[in-house]
């Protein structure tokens, strides 16, 4: 039956047309979306430190067993206090490195004596990153003073999930996607200090 053949071939032709059009549309959409990224970097997750309240969900909600979020020390902002509110419990028994005096549950902060000015000792506080679990206890403590400690997603560990599970749990909007070329954020205070230091240098020149 020529008629039936013709019908099937017409249907087949139409079908092929639809498929080719579909494939081209898909390819076009992919090209458009892919091309649009152009110069832009891909995105990674990061915490906006100004909006972080150090609620401790970062420690528990990451898909990694030990969170990709860690405390970071901004040395420029640290006042090198003897009585560090990020290092010590609120009422430490004594001002030494005893575990019972420390805020950090894993003892991840290293206290290093740098100098002594007129009897006042000055310390540098370093985060021992392998030990840090990102609970933010030190961040909360430090926020009472200068707030030099803050939480950041460490990109050597972050799996960059499509929807970060900490971001879902984050009570503020601190988790956001940032360009991978500039994947870390500073506190606005730190930016201020850096800028004023730069201005000072300029003036001197």
């Amino acid at each position: 039956m020529a008629g039936a053949d013709e019908k099937t071939s017409r249907r087949g032709f139409l079908g092929d047309g639809v498929r080719v059009a579909g494939a081209i549309a898909l390819g076009g959409a992919a090209g458009f979306v892919g091309g649009r990224r152009g110069r832009n970097d891909e995105y990674v997750w990061q915490i906006e430190p100004d909006e972080c309240v150090a609620c401790d969900r970062c420690a528990t909600c990451c898909v990694l067993d030990i969170s990709a979020v860690k405390a970071v020390q901004c040395y420029l902002m640290c006042a090198m206090c003897d009585l560090c509110t990020g290092y010590f419990e609120l009422s430490p028994i004594s001002r030494d490195t005893g575990a019972e005096n420390q805020l950090c549950p894993t003892g991840a902060i290293q206290r290093e004596l740098v100098t002594e000015e007129a009897g006042v000792p000055r310390f540098e506080y370093h985060i021992q990153e392998p030990d840090c679990i990102g609970c933010g206890k030190c961040v909360k403590g430090c926020a009472m003073m200068n707030g030099s400690l803050y939480l950041q997603v460490r990109h050597d560990r972050c799996l960059n999930c499509n929807q970060c599970s900490i971001a879902i749990a984050c009570p503020t909007q601190a988790f956001r996607r940032v360009p991978a070329g500039d994947p870390y954020l500073l506190k606005s205070k730190a930016r201020e200090i850096v800028e004023s230091a730069e201005r000072r240098v300029e003036r001197r020149e």
Binding site: R19, G34, D50, V63, A79, M144, H155, L159, N160, C161
Partner: protein, 421 residues
């Protein structure tokens, strides 16, 4: 120690003004904080290779080899690779949101591997049917493995629940386009199993899906999967598709009830002239109904704008801050604390929230119209007359799992197990 607490409180109250400058220590340079670079993305490209290989293998097993065992083993392998090893991320289902966000937000750069994950299964489906669902998608694979005692879902329920996937797709597109949330990832029922960690809610949700999946084949794929909703339409026009018999259907009815996903359609009976006339009139009526449904859906959708916008964190925060400023609630939340810490004026936040609300008013309209369209198309589709002279898989709902092959005597003849007479 009291002094210490008082000092600390005072410092907090004084905030930025009383910033203690870092003392200058001669001979001691300021240490620098290290910032490790993001991981290299080679693994992502390996994933894309694995995806294409799995799609090709799956299509080969389903269409050329007609091997249920091959498909099953491939499903296990996909579950191991994309599910447990790569922890279910990135997946094609979730990639919808990245692509939509990239379309709506020009500053968002989507990774090429995610685009590949979005496009390749669609293209394969256009030519081979839903072989992606058969053995490549880890979410499909985990449900495939637990579907051991499937019962037949009544057709009306199957059709009605099937609409949910389109509604979910609409909602997911809406929330991705507005940059509110990636709901597909947020409510991915199995990712908690893949990662062996997750919130209790997600584990309970995933557990229930698997439990239901023992008796109702692939509940997520059939009734919720938004990517599946797209694949259904592409599969309808696919160039090739699995068939139940290897060559010719002898209408022996042996395959009639074997599909756990209710995708096998029996041959149609010839209708009387009166029936045909009735059917035609109904179809005409339903075609007229479609624009009405869209309009009604759109109108009703406007009312969803407020609840939809509640999903948006900015709107939620603005509402909370508004209540706190008006002293209608006591205390603060973490979110409002964070907002006050930034020192932004509340008015700015309100303005932002109002703009978001307006966005959602449009979005609600679109979502409502979409739901109307989906219902209308479904009704039209149900009243289209089709002629089938043999047992055929329904191209939209068949996921090419290959379970029916074995029940066909033609298949036994092909394999040389029985004599073809």
């Amino acid at each position: 120690m009291l002094l210490f607490i008082v000092l600390a409180m005072a410092a907090r109250a004084a905030s930025a003004q009383d910033f203690l400058a870092r003392p200058d220590v001669p001979g001691h340079p300021i240490p620098t904080t290290t910032f490790p670079e993001p991981r290299a993305g080679e693994l992502e490209y390996l994933d894309v290779l694995a995806l294409v290989a799995a799609l090709a293998l799956s299509s080969y097993f389903a269409l050329a080899r007609r091997s249920r065992r091959g498909l099953f083993l491939l499903a296990v392998a996909s579950l191991a690779w994309f599910g447990f090893w790569r922890e279910g991320c990135v997946c094609s289902i979730g990639s919808i949101q990245n692509v939509v966000l990239a379309l709506f937000d020009p500053t968002y750069a989507v990774s090429l591997s995610i685009v590949a994950f979005f496009v390749f299964p669609l293209v394969f489906t256009l030519f081979f049917g839903r072989t992606f669902c058969a053995a490549v998608c880890p979410l499909g694979a985990v449900q495939e493995l637990v579907a051991v005692r499937p019962v037949k879902v009544p057709a009306w329920l199957d059709h009605a629940l099937g609409l949910l996937a389109y509604v979910y797709l609409g909602a997911a597109v809406l929330f991705a386009a507005t940059g509110t949330a990636f709901v597909i990832c947020e409510y991915d029922p199995f990712v908690a199993f893949f990662r062996l960690t997750g919130t209790v809610n997600m584990l309970v949700l995933g557990g229930s899906f698997l439990l239901v999946g023992v008796f109702v084949g692939r509940p997520y794929c059939r009734y919720f999967c938004p990517y599946g909703a797209v694949l259904r339409w592409l599969s309808r026009v696919s160039k090739w598709h699995v068939t139940i018999p290897p060559d010719e259907c002898i209408k022996c009815r042996l395959c009639e009830d074997v599909c756990p996903y209710g995708a096998i359609r029996e041959p149609t009976v010839e209708q009387s002239l009166a029936e045909r006339g009735r059917g035609r009139r109904r179809l005409a009526l339903l075609l007229l109904l479609v624009p009405i449904l869209i309009a009604v859906g759109g109108c009703l959708g406007r009312f969803t704008a407020v609840p939809l916008s509640q999903m948006d964190p900015t709107v939620r925060l603005a509402e909370r801050v508004g209540l706190e400023e008006a002293k209608k609630v006591e205390g603060t939340t973490d979110a409002s604390d964070a907002f006050y810490n930034t020192g932004r004026p509340a008015m700015e936040l309100y303005r932002e929230a109002v703009a978001r609300r307006q966005q959602f008013a449009y979005a609600g309209l679109w979502l409502g119209a979409w739901v109307g369209l989906v219902i209308g198309v479904k009704l039209v589709h149900l009243s289209l007359r089709r002629r089938r002279s043999e047992y055929l898989p329904d191209r939209a709902s068949c996921i090419s799992c290959g379970r029916c092959f074995w029940y066909c005597p033609g298949e036994h003849a092909r394999l040389g197990l029985i004599q073809d007479t």
